[in-house]
């Protein structure tokens, strides 16, 4: 009987000790959870600083992709050689953009970035980058002319938003309406020329909206154009916004259905869908915003020549750019541009597609969203936001990071 009491006593003691140990562990974990969160913040801040303040290795990896064939030793987006913090390199940003219409052949994916940043298998992240100010363009009225199947957009409603989707009032918006004429040149080769530029300025209201009306300008211009010539004109609206010194630039053009009107500029190369034919002297560069402050809007746009580097259908050429871009896919046409201004925000390329002339708008201030790993809410994640610069335009960098084990 006494031995039985001893056994019962020992059992109770063991159960008691286990329960106490569990409680102690729970209390300990509760307190150390704060430390773990702080460590996650420390990691996030370190990674964010590395991304926006260092150029990576090799430092010119954005445009000099042929020399390294895509091999990086370190990841960073800062402009090489700059002394200004948060100054980002447009070519490196372009390597992170991946358009749904045209996959980026030089795309650097989340897994590779995670590996370069030393985050593989331990942390997941989402890296989002977007212009601080963005425009929504709605065409309210078209200018119809005899001799054209498609009408030219003439009256626009512009809505200005910040990166959270808030409306931005009191911003000065200038619309630079450019008419481009395609005509036969020497040797019956079509060329594109900037024929006329109209400008209109307006200020956004409380809803962040304003109207830009070019109807009278177009009527006045086309009154002097012979009817047979009307169909040779293409139109681009370049939008320049100044909001107390913060500047944003965007572009709009009418797009034929299913037309491949997107592309990439990396270094001196333009990467386009292989089905379109670019006119020889047809790349229009939008110059740096600093120059755009000059009211002579015609000087903002420069026409430069483009040369076909590889056509995307035959086996890849031995030139390094073609070898890297068209490796195994033969999907892209690659052109070399005569001259790319380093700080050019947009490039327009006049091309022929299924018998029609189209304008390909290449935006060098793209929206970027790169993800590595998955998580399901709620998760212990850390979000950091920094405001960088791409050219002279404010560009928001947002990093969300979490532990894989907690995802």
């Amino acid at each position: 009987m006494h031995a039985m009491l001893e056994y019962i006593g020992i059992t109770i003691a063991i159960i008691f000790i286990i329960l106490i140990a569990q409680y102690s562990l729970a209390v300990f974990l509760r307190d150390t959870a704060h430390v773990r969160e702080e460590q996650l913040y420390t990691v996030a801040e370190r990674i964010m600083d590395k991304i926006v303040l260092t150029p990576g290795d090799p430092p010119d990896w954005g445009y000099n992709f042929t020399a390294y064939n895509g091999t990086l030793r370190d990841f960073g987006l800062a402009q090489y050689g700059t002394r200004t913090p948060y100054e980002l390199d447009p070519d490196k940003i372009m390597r992170l953009a991946n358009l749904t219409e045209l996959p980026n052949p030089l795309f650097i994916n989340g897994s590779y970035i995670a590996e370069l940043l030393g985050l593989s298998n331990e942390y997941g992240f989402v890296l989002e980058m977007t212009p601080l100010l963005s425009h929504e363009v709605t065409v309210l009225e078209y200018y119809s002319t005899p001799g054209r199947q498609d009408d030219l957009p003439a009256v626009f409603k512009i809505k200005l938003k910040n990166y959270y989707g808030l409306d931005v009032p009191s911003a000065n918006i200038t619309g630079i309406y450019t008419l481009i004429k395609v005509q036969s040149g020497v040797g019956n080769i079509d060329t594109a020329n900037i024929e006329e530029i109209f400008t209109r300025t307006n200020m956004t209201n409380l809803q962040g909206e304003c109207i830009l009306d070019f109807m009278n300008d177009l009527e006045g211009f086309f009154n002097n154009v012979p009817p047979g010539q009307v169909k040779k004109y293409l139109a681009i609206l370049l939008i320049h916004t100044n909001w107390y010194g913060f500047v944003a630039v965007d572009a709009f053009t009418s797009i034929p259905e299913n037309a491949p009107v997107k592309g990439y500029v990396v270094g001196d190369y333009i990467i386009l869908e292989k089905d379109i034919e670019v006119l020889p002297r047809s790349a229009i560069l939008v110059k740096d915003e600093v120059i755009q402050a000059v009211p002579e809007y015609r000087s903002l746009l420069t026409v430069v020549a483009v040369n076909l580097e590889c056509n995307g259908t035959s086996p890849p050429s031995t030139t390094p750019a073609c070898y890297v871009i068209n490796r195994g896919r033969f999907r892209y046409k690659v052109y070399r541009v005569e001259y790319v201004e380093k700080l050019s925000s947009h490039m327009f390329v006049i091309a022929q597609w299924r018998g029609d002339y189209i304008i390909v708008i290449i935006n060098r201030i793209p929206k970027v969203n790169i993800r590595y790993g998955t998580y399901y809410e709620p998760v212990n994640s850390v979000v950091l936001i920094r405001e960088g610069h791409l050219f002279n335009y404010p560009y928001v960098v947002k990093l969300t990071i979490w532990r894989v084990t907690e995802g």
């Binding site: 006494h2 001893e6 920094r386």
Partner: protein, 162 residues
Amino acid sequence: MKRGQARIIEVMLAAIVMTITLVTIMNLTTPLRSIYLRETSDLRRVAYNILNDFGDARVYENIIIKGNLTGRLWEDELILFISVNIPPQVVFNMDVYVLKIYRNGTLEWVKLNRKPISNVENWQEANIIEAESVTYTYVCVAEPDEGRGTFLKIELTLGYGG
């Protein structure tokens, strides 16, 4: 009572004493203030980041200097401008000072804003969980000409509202 039973009781008592000691120590230990430390560190970086961006874009000249020269409500413009530039959950308060140099050589920072520059009704009574204050000095270099060379001191506090 046998010796074995006495030992069991001793063991149980020892376990109880140790447990009580452990729990008491755990509850008396100062809580780790890691959330406070880490988030304010980030707020400080964000504050300097946006103040520097404003300087690069000549926002101070466009809003503060022009506002003072024209007499318009530049404080309201600045509230709107900052609100659009910071994450929505962040509250802020800003004070702007200008350096006055008197003929006798004395210097004085004079507050420029006539009303609070903040996205909360009453900053003094607002419930702020965590906050970080930074001071940024700026010399106006852009137009308007009347404002060139003006020394500004900007005190910006960012925080998370409770």
